[in-house]
């Protein structure tokens, strides 16, 4: 659309100029955009559907020879132009990089800043009290930028009007009696929310910074790090609970389903009455990275035959580091399983999105099918873990 704008401006000032816009698809999506496009055509700007294939200089008059196909009439056009302008896509400004690193904001795969939720929290970021608007979040025109900036300003007023700041209670915390101050957890947190308390010599979670992924928990060998609402005790109990009724010849697949994506997709599958293996047991977690190797090994020890760790697709995840962190835990588990002679393919990590129902079924049923091929885990092997 900005090619249309610039062409219109030029045509208004110099109507004698012949202007051609080569395009693959006109996306005049906003209010009044279609009319603007029509106006440009009325002014005599010519639109050729086809991507410019070749440009070269005419050695005689130094003009640009352009070749492209007009895909509407299926003819190849070759023409000389005084000036050829490349319409590039919008990118995040280079100067934004500094503030992104400073605030530890996340970028989505398109290179723009990631909002906390594309539909329900379009101006929030993953950091409480930091809001985004305009072309920092994505390519936008002026009215949209103004609207989003107004929304961001209004959202910030909500925080400012409160006397006390409320945080989500689902956060990591430290058991001071278990912590020996080794410092293993300090560099793990992607938000730098864990600090060493110099007075007590023990680690401490800054609740204002913690966003509740639980990725720090596997780093603590003493299980001194814990998570409100999903405590270690609760997790061990949950694992024990889902394996309690397992009979001699049955198998059990435990899915550690992250709250935002995997648990929702499992829910949706149930609502649609789609069938998946009845050996499956789902345990809800804040993110797959919360599951420490100890928990996975405990599950195998107690009778689990397979574990699926589910998390959001990285590019749309609240916790984009989940995959990487979970895979680190998986490495440790795989090594242990190997030494006990258990097939490592029994533990998998997978990215689910809340709408991909069939993908979920494929992963779960595929695992159930595979389990039939593998040798059953012997009790002696379980004891070795």
């Amino acid at each position: 659309m900005y090619a249309t704008k610039l062409a219109s401006l030029l045509k208004q000032v110099k109507p004698e100029k012949e202007i051609y816009i080569f395009y693959t698809d006109i996306r005049a999506y906003g209010k009044g955009f279609e009319e603007y496009y029509k106006k440009a055509q009325t002014m005599g700007i010519k639109y050729i559907r086809g991507k410019v294939a070749e440009l070269e200089e005419n050695p005689e008059n130094k003009k640009v020879i352009l070749r492209a196909e007009d895909t509407l009439s299926r003819q190849v056009i070759e023409s000389e132009f005084d000036l050829v302008v490349l319409s590039t896509g919008l990118q995040l400004s280079n100067s934004s990089e500094k503030i992104i690193n400073f605030l530890k904001l996340t970028k989505s795969s398109d290179g723009f800043l990631q909002e906390a939720h594309p539909k329900y929290k379009p101006v929030d970021t993953n950091i409480e009290g930091v809001f985004i608007a305009g072309t920092a979040q994505g390519p936008k025109d002026i009215p949209d930028t103004v609207a989003q900036a107004s929304a961001a300003a209004a959202r910030s007023m909500v925080s400012l009007a409160q006397k006390e700041f409320q945080v989500d209670p689902m956060l990591a915390y430290v058991h001071p009696d278990k912590c020996d101050g080794c410092g293993d957890c300090l560099n793990v947190c992607p938000k730098d929310a864990i600090v060493m308390n110099k007075e007590t010599g023990k680690a401490e979670v800054l609740e204002a910074l913690c966003i509740g992924c639980g990725a720090c928990l596997p780093s603590c060998s003493k299980e001194a790090l814990d998570f409100h609402g999903y405590t270690n005790d609760q997790m061990y109990a949950a694992i024990q609970g889902v394996l309690d009724q397992k009979k001699e010849n049955e198998t059990r697949i435990i899915i550690f389903a992250d709250d935002t994506c995997t648990y929702r997709v499992a829910d949706a599958v149930g609502i649609r009455k789609m069938k998946y293996s009845e050996d499956t047991r789902i345990i809800r977690v804040p993110s797959s990275s919360r599951i420490s190797p100890n928990l996975m090994l405990y599950a195998f020890k107690e009778g689990a035959d397979a574990i699926i760790l589910g998390d959001c697709v990285k590019k749309s995840s609240r916790f984009p580091w989940s995959k990487e962190m979970t895979e680190k835990s998986l490495e440790i588990v795989n090594e242990k399983l190997k030494s006990a002679g258990i097939d490592g393919r029994r533990v998998v990590f997978s990215e689910f999105s809340a709408g991909a129902l069939n993908y979920f079924l494929n992963i779960v049923n595929g695992m159930a099918e595979n389990l039939k091929q593998y040798e059953r885990i012997k009790e002696t092997q379980r004891k070795e873990l």
Binding site: Y20, G44, S73, E78, E80
Partner: protein, 134 residues
Amino acid sequence: MPKKIVINDASEEFLRKIIELSGEVITLCDQCGTCSGGCPFVEEMDITPSQLMRKVQLGQQDVLESKTMWLCATCNTCTVRCPRGLDLSKVAEGLRQVVLRQAIDNLDLNNYPKEEIKELPQIAIIAAIRKLTS
């Protein structure tokens, strides 16, 4: 083999001329194809009305060799349906004018015997001499 076309001053001039003759903003045509889809004569045409519009937009003078504008009966089906409000029959007339103004005499009435001329439909005679008057 697809034809390679060149856009130059002559093609710009051709487009300007047709716009002037027809009074229609030909650059507005979006190539949606509604005109061709509804044209009752399209099966007889060598290029469809929308192709004709594209050729004019690109200033391709070979459009003058096409049968299409001569087959246009000015039924205005395309005109009432065009989402951009273009009157294609006026464009066809503009193109016919360009050809007629070249005053190429394919039919010299003097070469025909009077009896034969008497038999000819009047409209044919008018059409034959019209190119010399418009």
